[in-house]
Symmetry: C2
Subunit: 303 residues, 2 copies
């Protein structure tokens, strides 16, 4: 039987502009992306906050993915809103507008029924809140966490505190450089592992990802894509696929962890093919398994 | 029995400054890097030009690697000299001084004994000269070529002409974008394949490499390195390891080509560990085989 994954993070309505198009008020936020991605592999218990304006159709979508929304608090007011515009190369973006709304007072509370979740993912929120979530759990087998540039500079002490309890830290390459103060990715990884996490996943966008542990390094390229429509949430979908796959297999180290990273990369590769969670609304497990096989063919020189 | 590789390109004396050190008048040039890298796998026939000032110790080194120097013309005057300085991140560099000297009049002439070389690599020189080399060969099994930004803009017609006869074009990602006019690497690759080459290797430095053919894509990460001392010549060493490996195995497609790409990546990963060809002067085939195995372990999730 599959383990369950509890995830805490933001639920938002995003308005996104890219060089080729735009989308308004689409489901976004780290918690949403993670949950939907993970739901293809294992039961997901979501913790987040939305306003009374949250569209019923998005709630129904998450329910249709089997995501447990008991921990999704509804507060009078407006849902977190983000508006951003991507540059021509899709690697950089500007935030045009940010309205925290009800998310500004987010104080995550885990329903009783979540406290036995075996895997916990602390998506990108203030590190002090991430730690408070861990303290509410009865027991857990595996803790994942993400963070961002803002917390690395503004809440560094809280973040360093949290890292002692993290099994897998999932960040991108610029965050790794910022957190470690090192531009070489191998040296940066070693310094970050010394801060506490047992493993460090460094996501490099279209260039793939690296996993560092005390005695092991795993490198995987990204699936080459002809059309990237919207990169928003790709990192959260990567983490969602990864932790979903770990929950499904129950193998948290070695080959199980490597296969889970490839699953994360595969789900992320689908996520960027449409705005927001558009592509994942029609995605099937069979699509994922097909691309996983294509990914094996893409990278195999071992046989 | 191993096939032989004929390579045509520049032989230079480089002066290199990096954020951590410098080296003066070290053996450089695309032909030198390629030849030394390939020599770990197969017999190499070198075609190039040097001045009367070329250090005997460098000639002896190349001879000690078993490289056939019959096609290395010596002309009265000074050897090609390049002086460059790398930026802090090691990805960008400025040319501080460039003296073509005897290389300015380079007109490659293949010795009779080279004309049966099975594999030919046309390293980065003017595309018209690359074509003239092909016309001097009696017959050949596999043609590789490299080029650079300067020729893509200044000798575009000659380059397009050459590409019709190329089996494997080996360029970096910015050159692929420049040649195709496309920033997406998959679309860029398709456009370049339409120009003639049967396969296209796109080198992405620390991010690895992609091989595109009509019906296949292969993606491989780079070996993560803690210390990059000098990136000069890494791309030429990649190509040298690749073509050397192809010559050794005689398998020019499929798994043989994929393994050759990993061999190229492995040799390049050693090359950047010291200035110029410093690391390759002490490198052994056993070192290469050990790192190839480490590379398999680094990337394996298939079993």
């Amino acid at each position: 039987m599959s383990h369950s994954v509890c995830v805490v993070g933001s639920v938002a309505l995003d308005s996104i502009q890219t060089p080729t198009g735009s989308a308004d008020d689409v489901l976004g936020g780290s918690c949403s992306y993670f949950s939907v991605a993970a739901s293809f592999f294992a039961p997901v218990n979501m913790v987040g906050v939305i306003g009374s304006d949250f569209p019923e159709v998005e709630r129904s979508f998450m329910e249709s993915r089997g995501i447990n929304l008991e921990g999704l608090e509804v507060v009078d007011g407006a849902t977190f809103r983000w508006t951003g515009r991507y540059h021509e190369n899709m690697n950089n973006r500007d935030t045009l507008d940010l309205q925290l709304n009800v998310f500004g007072e987010f104080d995550p509370k885990l329903p009783e029924s979540y406290r036995d979740s075996d895997l916990v993912f602390l998506a990108n929120i203030q590190p002090g809140l991430q730690t408070s979530v861990l303290s509410q759990l009865g027991s857990y087998k595996l803790v994942g966490a993400d963070t961002m540039d803002h917390w690395i500079t503004e809440s560094r002490d809280d973040l360093i505190d949290l890292l002692k309890d993290v099994d897998i830290l999932s960040i991108n390459d610029s965050e790794a450089e910022q957190l470690s103060g090192e531009s070489n990715v191998v040296i940066a990884a070693r310094k970050i592992l010394e801060m506490g996490p047992k493993s460090l996943l460094i996501k490099r966008g279209e260039y793939g990802a690296l996993l560092f542990s005390a005695n092991d390094v795993f490198a995987v390229p990204a699936y080459p894509l002809e059309r990237v429509i919207d990169p928003t949430g790709a990192g959260d979908c990567f983490a969602g696929g990864l932790f979903g796959s770990l929950a499904e297999s129950g193998e948290f180290t070695g080959k199980g962890l490597r296969r889970a990273i490839v699953h994360g990369s595969v789900v992320a590769s689908f996520a960027v093919e449409d705005f927001g969670l558009g592509r994942l609304k029609t995605l099937t497990r069979d699509d994922i398994d097909q691309r996983y096989k294509a990914f094996m063919a893409l990278t195999d020189f071992h046989s």
